[in-house]
Protein backbone atom coordinates (compact mmCIF):
# COMPACT_ATOMS: atom_id res chain seq x y z
CA UNK A 1 0.00 0.00 0.00
CA UNK A 2 1.55 3.28 -1.03
CA UNK A 3 1.51 6.26 1.36
CA UNK A 4 -1.18 8.15 -0.55
CA UNK A 5 -3.78 5.43 -0.56
CA UNK A 6 -2.90 4.66 3.06
CA UNK A 7 -3.59 8.26 4.00
CA UNK A 8 -6.82 8.10 2.04
CA UNK A 9 -7.95 5.02 3.93
CA UNK A 10 -7.03 6.64 7.25
CA UNK A 11 -9.05 9.72 6.33
CA UNK A 12 -12.04 7.56 5.43
CA UNK A 13 -11.96 5.45 8.57
CA UNK A 14 -10.94 8.08 11.13
CA UNK A 15 -13.97 9.67 12.81
CA UNK A 16 -14.78 13.16 11.55
CA UNK A 17 -13.85 15.85 14.02
CA UNK A 18 -16.94 17.70 15.22
CA UNK A 19 -15.43 21.08 14.36
CA UNK A 20 -18.43 23.22 15.24
CA UNK A 21 -19.02 21.52 18.57
CA UNK A 22 -15.31 21.73 19.44
CA UNK A 23 -15.25 25.42 18.56
CA UNK A 24 -18.26 26.08 20.76
CA UNK A 25 -16.65 24.25 23.68
CA UNK A 26 -13.38 26.12 23.10
CA UNK A 27 -15.26 29.42 22.99
CA UNK A 28 -17.06 28.79 26.28
CA UNK A 29 -13.99 27.41 28.08
CA UNK A 30 -11.64 30.12 26.85
CA UNK A 31 -14.26 32.77 27.53
CA UNK A 32 -14.75 31.64 31.12
CA UNK A 33 -11.00 31.57 31.76
CA UNK A 34 -10.60 35.10 30.35
CA UNK A 35 -13.57 36.34 32.40
CA UNK A 36 -11.95 34.96 35.53
CA UNK A 37 -8.77 36.78 34.48
CA UNK A 38 -10.75 40.00 34.06
CA UNK A 39 -12.26 39.65 37.55
CA UNK A 40 -8.83 38.99 39.06
CA UNK A 41 -7.40 42.05 37.31
CA UNK A 42 -10.22 44.10 38.89
CA UNK A 43 -9.10 42.87 42.29
CA UNK A 44 -5.57 44.09 41.53
CA UNK A 45 -6.85 47.41 40.20
CA UNK A 46 -9.13 48.21 43.14
CA UNK A 47 -7.22 46.79 46.09
CA UNK A 48 -3.56 47.02 45.03
CA UNK A 49 -3.57 50.22 42.94
CA UNK A 50 -2.47 48.69 39.67
CA UNK A 51 -3.59 50.41 36.48
CA UNK A 52 -5.50 48.72 33.67
CA UNK A 53 -2.27 47.96 31.80
CA UNK A 54 -0.01 47.00 34.69
CA UNK A 55 -2.67 44.72 36.21
CA UNK A 56 -2.05 42.11 33.52
CA UNK A 57 1.29 41.01 35.03
CA UNK A 58 0.02 40.00 38.51
CA UNK A 59 -3.14 38.63 36.87
CA UNK A 60 -1.09 36.29 34.70
CA UNK A 61 0.90 35.15 37.75
CA UNK A 62 -2.32 34.49 39.66
CA UNK A 63 -3.79 32.54 36.76
CA UNK A 64 -0.64 30.39 36.62
CA UNK A 65 -0.99 29.80 40.37
CA UNK A 66 -4.60 28.68 39.92
CA UNK A 67 -3.51 26.46 37.06
CA UNK A 68 -0.93 24.88 39.40
CA UNK A 69 -3.68 23.86 41.83
CA UNK A 70 -5.95 22.61 39.04
CA UNK A 71 -3.08 20.70 37.43
CA UNK A 72 -1.91 19.20 40.71
CA UNK A 73 -5.35 17.89 41.58
CA UNK A 74 -5.85 16.54 38.06
CA UNK A 75 -8.72 18.91 37.26
CA UNK A 76 -7.03 20.77 34.41
CA UNK A 77 -6.75 17.55 32.43
CA UNK A 78 -10.52 17.22 32.52
CA UNK A 79 -11.00 20.86 31.54
CA UNK A 80 -8.61 20.19 28.65
CA UNK A 81 -10.56 17.15 27.50
CA UNK A 82 -13.69 19.26 27.35
CA UNK A 83 -12.32 22.60 26.19
CA UNK A 84 -9.61 21.67 23.69
CA UNK A 85 -7.95 24.87 22.54
CA UNK A 86 -10.11 26.79 25.02
CA UNK A 87 -7.92 25.45 27.80
CA UNK A 88 -4.65 25.39 25.84
CA UNK A 89 -4.59 28.92 24.42
CA UNK A 90 -5.01 30.95 27.65
CA UNK A 91 -1.93 31.40 29.84
CA UNK A 92 -3.32 28.75 32.20
CA UNK A 93 -2.65 26.24 29.42
CA UNK A 94 0.95 27.42 29.27
CA UNK A 95 1.16 27.04 33.05
CA UNK A 96 -0.44 23.62 32.85
CA UNK A 97 2.09 22.48 30.23
CA UNK A 98 5.03 23.56 32.42
CA UNK A 99 3.60 22.33 35.72
CA UNK A 100 2.30 18.98 34.49
CA UNK A 101 5.71 18.26 32.93
CA UNK A 102 7.35 19.17 36.25
CA UNK A 103 5.09 16.83 38.23
CA UNK A 104 5.30 14.08 35.63
CA UNK A 105 9.10 13.92 35.70
CA UNK A 106 9.53 14.32 39.44
CA UNK A 107 10.35 10.61 39.75
CA UNK A 108 13.50 11.15 37.64
CA UNK A 109 14.89 13.60 40.17
CA UNK A 110 14.76 17.35 40.57
CA UNK A 111 17.64 18.22 38.25
CA UNK A 112 17.40 15.62 35.51
CA UNK A 113 13.65 15.16 35.80
CA UNK A 114 11.96 18.42 36.80
CA UNK A 115 14.66 20.81 35.61
CA UNK A 116 15.33 19.18 32.27
CA UNK A 117 11.76 18.42 31.30
CA UNK A 118 9.87 21.41 32.65
CA UNK A 119 9.84 23.28 29.33
CA UNK A 120 9.57 20.20 27.15
CA UNK A 121 6.02 21.11 26.11
CA UNK A 122 6.04 24.88 26.61
CA UNK A 123 9.52 25.45 25.18
CA UNK A 124 8.50 26.14 21.57
CA UNK A 125 6.23 28.95 22.75
CA UNK A 126 9.08 30.71 24.54
CA UNK A 127 11.62 30.01 21.80
CA UNK A 128 9.56 31.25 18.87
CA UNK A 129 7.91 34.01 20.85
CA UNK A 130 11.32 35.37 21.77
CA UNK A 131 12.78 34.89 18.32
CA UNK A 132 9.88 36.51 16.49
CA UNK A 133 9.88 39.39 18.99
CA UNK A 134 13.59 39.82 18.24
CA UNK A 135 13.05 39.86 14.47
CA UNK A 136 10.05 42.20 14.68
CA UNK A 137 11.84 44.65 16.96
CA UNK A 138 15.04 44.51 14.93
CA UNK A 139 13.16 45.35 11.72
CA UNK A 140 11.31 48.16 13.44
CA UNK A 141 14.50 49.56 14.99
CA UNK A 142 16.21 49.55 11.59
CA UNK A 143 13.23 51.28 9.97
CA UNK A 144 13.19 53.91 12.73
CA UNK A 145 16.93 54.52 12.38
CA UNK A 146 16.45 54.95 8.63
CA UNK A 147 13.69 57.43 9.37
CA UNK A 148 11.00 55.44 7.55
CA UNK A 149 8.70 55.18 10.57
CA UNK A 150 8.70 56.48 14.12
CA UNK A 151 8.07 54.65 17.43
Amino acid sequence: MDPNSYQQTVDEIAPKRPVLKNCLKAFVTGGIICSVGQLISYVYMYFFSFTERTASNPTVATMVFISMLLTGFGIYKKIGQFGGAGSAVPVTGFGNAVISAAIEHKSEGFILGVGVNMFKLAGPVIVYGTFSAFVVTLIKTILVKMGVISW
Binding site: V64, F134, T137
Partner: protein, 121 residues
Protein backbone atom coordinates in the same frame (compact mmCIF):
# COMPACT_ATOMS: atom_id res chain seq x y z
CA UNK B 1 -17.50 46.19 35.00
CA UNK B 2 -20.04 43.62 33.81
CA UNK B 3 -19.56 44.92 30.30
CA UNK B 4 -15.80 44.45 30.32
CA UNK B 5 -16.16 40.93 31.73
CA UNK B 6 -18.48 40.10 28.83
CA UNK B 7 -16.04 41.67 26.37
CA UNK B 8 -13.22 39.60 27.87
CA UNK B 9 -15.38 36.49 27.58
CA UNK B 10 -16.21 37.04 23.93
CA UNK B 11 -12.78 38.17 22.74
CA UNK B 12 -10.90 35.51 24.73
CA UNK B 13 -13.37 32.90 23.54
CA UNK B 14 -12.89 33.94 19.92
CA UNK B 15 -9.10 33.66 20.17
CA UNK B 16 -9.59 30.14 21.56
CA UNK B 17 -11.88 29.34 18.62
CA UNK B 18 -9.08 30.41 16.27
CA UNK B 19 -6.83 27.99 18.16
CA UNK B 20 -9.42 25.23 17.91
CA UNK B 21 -9.76 25.80 14.16
CA UNK B 22 -5.99 25.51 13.81
CA UNK B 23 -6.22 22.20 15.72
CA UNK B 24 -9.17 20.74 13.83
CA UNK B 25 -9.17 22.26 10.36
CA UNK B 26 -5.49 23.04 9.75
CA UNK B 27 -4.57 19.85 11.69
CA UNK B 28 -1.71 21.51 13.56
CA UNK B 29 -0.37 20.04 16.79
CA UNK B 30 -0.98 22.09 19.97
CA UNK B 31 2.71 23.07 20.02
CA UNK B 32 2.53 24.39 16.44
CA UNK B 33 -0.72 26.21 17.17
CA UNK B 34 0.56 27.92 20.31
CA UNK B 35 3.85 28.88 18.63
CA UNK B 36 1.91 30.36 15.73
CA UNK B 37 -0.35 32.36 18.06
CA UNK B 38 2.65 33.74 19.96
CA UNK B 39 4.28 34.80 16.70
CA UNK B 40 1.02 36.47 15.60
CA UNK B 41 0.90 38.36 18.91
CA UNK B 42 4.44 39.62 18.57
CA UNK B 43 3.94 40.71 14.95
CA UNK B 44 0.71 42.54 15.85
CA UNK B 45 2.59 44.49 18.50
CA UNK B 46 5.23 45.34 15.92
CA UNK B 47 2.48 47.17 14.03
CA UNK B 48 1.28 48.76 17.28
CA UNK B 49 -2.05 46.96 17.13
CA UNK B 50 -1.97 44.87 20.31
CA UNK B 51 -2.07 47.67 22.89
CA UNK B 52 -5.32 49.16 21.57
CA UNK B 53 -6.65 45.60 21.51
CA UNK B 54 -5.82 45.23 25.23
CA UNK B 55 -7.49 48.57 25.97
CA UNK B 56 -10.60 47.22 24.30
CA UNK B 57 -10.73 43.64 25.54
CA UNK B 58 -8.78 43.65 28.83
CA UNK B 59 -8.15 40.12 30.04
CA UNK B 60 -9.66 38.81 26.80
CA UNK B 61 -6.46 40.03 25.15
CA UNK B 62 -3.95 39.56 27.98
CA UNK B 63 -4.82 36.02 29.09
CA UNK B 64 -4.51 34.19 25.70
CA UNK B 65 -0.97 33.20 24.80
CA UNK B 66 -0.86 35.81 22.00
CA UNK B 67 -0.24 38.42 24.71
CA UNK B 68 2.99 36.61 25.56
CA UNK B 69 4.35 37.43 22.11
CA UNK B 70 3.01 40.94 22.48
CA UNK B 71 4.76 41.59 25.78
CA UNK B 72 8.05 40.17 24.50
CA UNK B 73 7.98 42.54 21.54
CA UNK B 74 6.72 45.36 23.70
CA UNK B 75 9.57 45.11 26.20
CA UNK B 76 12.11 44.87 23.41
CA UNK B 77 10.67 47.90 21.62
CA UNK B 78 10.56 49.99 24.78
CA UNK B 79 14.25 49.42 25.41
CA UNK B 80 15.15 49.74 21.73
CA UNK B 81 13.53 53.16 21.75
CA UNK B 82 15.80 54.24 24.61
CA UNK B 83 19.05 52.42 23.89
CA UNK B 84 19.00 51.47 20.20
CA UNK B 85 19.95 48.01 19.00
CA UNK B 86 21.29 46.69 22.31
CA UNK B 87 17.87 47.37 23.82
CA UNK B 88 16.38 44.73 21.53
CA UNK B 89 18.26 42.13 23.57
CA UNK B 90 18.08 43.66 27.02
CA UNK B 91 14.40 44.60 26.95
CA UNK B 92 13.01 41.31 25.69
CA UNK B 93 11.79 39.86 28.99
CA UNK B 94 11.15 43.15 30.75
CA UNK B 95 7.36 43.22 30.45
CA UNK B 96 6.62 39.51 30.27
CA UNK B 97 8.54 38.57 33.40
CA UNK B 98 5.60 37.28 35.42
CA UNK B 99 4.32 34.59 33.07
CA UNK B 100 7.60 32.72 32.82
CA UNK B 101 8.79 33.28 36.38
CA UNK B 102 5.40 32.22 37.76
CA UNK B 103 5.41 29.11 35.58
CA UNK B 104 8.93 28.15 36.75
CA UNK B 105 8.30 28.89 40.43
CA UNK B 106 4.93 27.19 40.62
CA UNK B 107 6.27 24.34 38.49
CA UNK B 108 8.95 23.57 41.07
CA UNK B 109 6.50 24.10 43.94
CA UNK B 110 4.03 21.73 42.26
CA UNK B 111 6.76 19.14 41.79
CA UNK B 112 7.49 19.43 45.52
CA UNK B 113 3.86 19.11 46.61
CA UNK B 114 2.12 16.88 44.10
CA UNK B 115 2.96 13.48 42.80
CA UNK B 116 2.07 12.12 39.38
CA UNK B 117 -1.18 10.22 39.42
CA UNK B 118 -0.42 8.39 36.19
CA UNK B 119 -3.27 8.32 33.75
CA UNK B 120 -6.43 10.04 34.90
CA UNK B 121 -9.35 8.32 33.23
Amino acid sequence: MIFSVITAFIVGGLICVVGQLLFDVAKLTPAHTLSLLVVIGSVLDGFGLYEPFIDFAGAGATIPITSFGNSLTHGAMQEAEKHGFIGVLTGMFEVTSSGISAAIIFGVVAALIFRSKGKVS
